[in-house]
């Protein structure tokens, strides 16, 4: 009756061997191809470094004005622009400017990358049910797998630094982008699509003139979610050497510096709210012609 109380698991030695074989294979793979893969990611690294240099080396008044200008352009709301200004001034006053700029540059690059990869995948997914059936479970894994787990192979391959951090963040943050692009395109009014067909639009014209513009509000919601999730990963990414607001938080955890932790935590919350309000207001502005006024 032993098997009844104890799950009859795989033989200990066999299990150990199995793990060993997988680990060895992967380690071998890393040794052989690590440099090649690192080379593949160099352009990304340059992009990251350039973005970070721009954000930290540009004098703070210029950056502040730039962010406010973007906020105004996207929202046309004085309230939101005012909120951004206060947030930025507070962050600067409490001496977190440089870390905040590093985090913002990281989030910016992650978002650009997520859109660049997520949008085409979302479009493909919306076109074919088969692709959707394959991609959906992958996205589920990406969203639920604890991020520490996929940090291991990433660090083994690429070491510690910005690029592995970036990859970890993108893996975590890209699923809503893909899902909402797919959803947005699938929800486009069938009647309008039929009209495009009737006028002889080809697939490309349908995509760029009908599907993407009509799905844009949903896609914007996806971008908003992606930004939020990327920000949530900042602290974890700092464990593998990503600089920014995450590192002081990590230091605060290790040394029980309550105030340091809460200041930097609040700075993350501050920029999260900034990004969220600006991107949401932009999404709403895109929809201003959508409400049905006349039935």
């Amino acid at each position: 009756m032993d098997w009844f109380y104890q799950f009859p698991h795989m033989d200990d030695n066999a299990l150990r061997d199995l793990k060993k074989v997988i680990d060895e294979t992967f380690r071998g793979f890393t040794r052989n191809y690590g440099e090649l893969i690192e080379g593949f990611f160099t352009p990304l690294q340059h992009f990251l470094i350039a973005a970070e240099r721009f954000m930290t080396k540009t004098p703070w008044p210029i950056i502040t004005l730039l962010i406010l200008a973007i906020a105004w352009g996207a929202t046309r709301s004085l309230r939101i622009v005012g909120g951004c200004l206060v947030t930025l001034l507070l962050i600067g006053y409490f001496d977190m400017w440089d870390d905040t700029m590093r985090t913002i540059s990281m989030i910016f690059v992650c978002t650009v990358l997520s859109i660049a990869i997520g949008l085409p995948i979302g479009i493909l997914m919306s076109r074919s049910d088969r692709v959707q059936r394959v991609v959906n479970p992958v996205l589920d894994v990406m969203q639920t797998m604890p991020s520490f787990v996929y940090l291991i192979p990433v660090v083994m391959l690429l070491g510690i630094g910005k690029v592995p951090g970036l990859i970890a963040v993108v893996i975590y943050a890209i699923p809503p982008m893909i899902r909402l692009t797919n959803l947005g395109i699938r929800l486009v009014d069938k009647d309008v699509l039929e009209a495009a067909d009737a006028f002889g639009a080809d697939n490309r014209q349908k995509l760029f003139k009908v599907q993407l513009p009509l799905a844009l509000p949903t896609i914007m919601a996806g971008i908003n979610q992606t930004i939020m999730m990327a920000l949530a990963m900042v602290v974890i990414a700092s464990m593998i050497g990503v600089q920014g607001l995450g590192q002081p938080v990590l230091k605060a955890i290790a040394n029980q510096y309550f105030t340091l932790g809460i200041f930097n935590g609040l700075a993350i919350v501050g920029i999260a709210i900034m990004f969220d309000r600006v991107s949401q207001a932009y999404g709403e502005r895109l929809q201003k012609h959508r409400e049905v006024v006349h039935g």
Partner: protein, 359 residues
């Protein structure tokens, strides 16, 4: 294309069966398998059965039927938004069914334009940008498209609304945009799928007038789908009545009203205002010797209602019916005109009822 006369549309032996194995049931349907049997035995839905319609160039062909009769399916075969199971659809002599995809796309861009029941406008584009949509797809330059679009927007009465967005307009005005968008394409075939069904009655009449006025100039081959018999009779040069995927009667409005093919059509026609449909020609007495010339003359293609209106103050006696060239065709009396305005069958029934009570 300027020197080539458009050849109209011919639909021949068109069948449509919906279901995974449509092709294998065509023969059975051709041999008389009914819609219900097909559905019960094989789980396939018969959409259209043996449709044959000749639509001459430059006329308005109305296809009328209630919901589920297959009329929207039929119109979508003309630009092949739906593929038929069997049969041919010849537009200007070319079989649309056999066209490869790229040719079909070119055909849709240049030969047909469509107006939809639910307008199907692009909500993110202004009225002007919606109107140039078809031209944009064709690859016409923006400046040129805008000229064309502005011209058509003015024609449908939307001047000054170019920069508005569809949701800022009423239903009637949105459909004007739909019409302008279709006309801007300058295609010989105009497909109108229940284009006015979503509009309220007054606006609908208004839009019918717009279409009839335009048609006098543009002379397109228009296929108009409707479930409203009054609309069909007002617009149609030719009318085909569809029921359960089959054409049960084809002909002019006169034919449909005066000689309904079966009880189903007769039932429809009963509610129609005959005075507005039937022409004087249909009820006149062809020339006999007994005519008393009262000096009154009316055109043969006038409707009874119009005739009564013009003759209301005329003296008693026979009225001469003349054709457009002025040649006398026959005579008609005021009494005949009045009698024709009420349904002949009903009158007979009532006469019999009166006779029966008297006896």
């Amino acid at each position: 294309m300027a020197d080539h006369a458009f050849g109209g549309i011919q639909i021949r032996h068109l069948y449509k069966i919906f279901g995974p194995n449509a092709q294998s049931h065509v023969e059975a349907v051709k041999n008389g398998l009914t819609k219900t049997e097909l559905n019960e035995r094989y789980g396939h839905v018969l959409g259209l059965r043996d449709i044959n319609i000749e639509m001459p160039s430059g006329s308005i062909q109305v296809i009328m039927g209630l919901s589920g009769s297959g009329k929207s399916t039929l119109i979508r075969h003309i630009n092949r938004l739906i593929d038929p199971t069997a049969g041919e659809v010849l537009v200007d002599g070319v079989d649309v069914v056999k066209m490869p995809e790229t040719e079909l796309r070119e055909f849709r861009r240049h030969q047909t334009a469509m107006v939809f029941q639910k307008f199907a406008l692009l909500p993110h584009r202004s009225v002007l940008d919606n109107t140039i949509f078809g031209l944009e797809i064709q690859g016409v330059s923006r400046a040129q498209s805008i000229d064309t679009a502005m011209c058509w927007l003015e024609r449908v009465g939307l001047k000054g609304f170019e920069q508005k967005y569809p949701n800022q307009l009423s239903g009637g005005m949105q459909q004007r945009v739909g019409l302008a968008r279709a006309l801007a394409n300058d295609a010989p075939v105009l497909l109108m799928d229940e284009a006015y069904s979503a509009l309220d009655p007054l606006i609908r009449t208004d839009m019918q007038t717009v279409l009839l006025d335009l048609q006098k100039e543009i002379k397109k081959t228009i296929v108009f789908i409707t479930h409203d018999l009054d609309e069909a009779l007002r617009l149609g040069d030719q009318i085909a009545i569809l029921r359960d995927g089959e054409v049960i009667q084809q002909g002019s409005s006169q034919d449909i009203v005066l000689r309904p093919a079966d009880d189903y059509v007769a039932n429809f026609v009963k509610e129609v205002n005959r005075g507005r449909v039937v022409h004087v020609e249909a009820i006149m007495t062809p020339f006999g010797a007994t005519a008393v010339d009262s000096g009154q003359r009316i055109a043969a293609d006038l409707t009874i209602e119009e005739a009564v209106r013009t003759l209301a103050s005329a003296p008693e006696g026979d009225i001469i019916v003349v054709d457009p060239s002025g040649k006398p065709l026959g005579t008609v009396t005021f009494r005949q005109l009045a009698g024709a305005m009420v349904n002949a069958h009903e009158t007979n029934d009532r006469d019999m009822a009166i006779a029966a009570t008297a006896a």
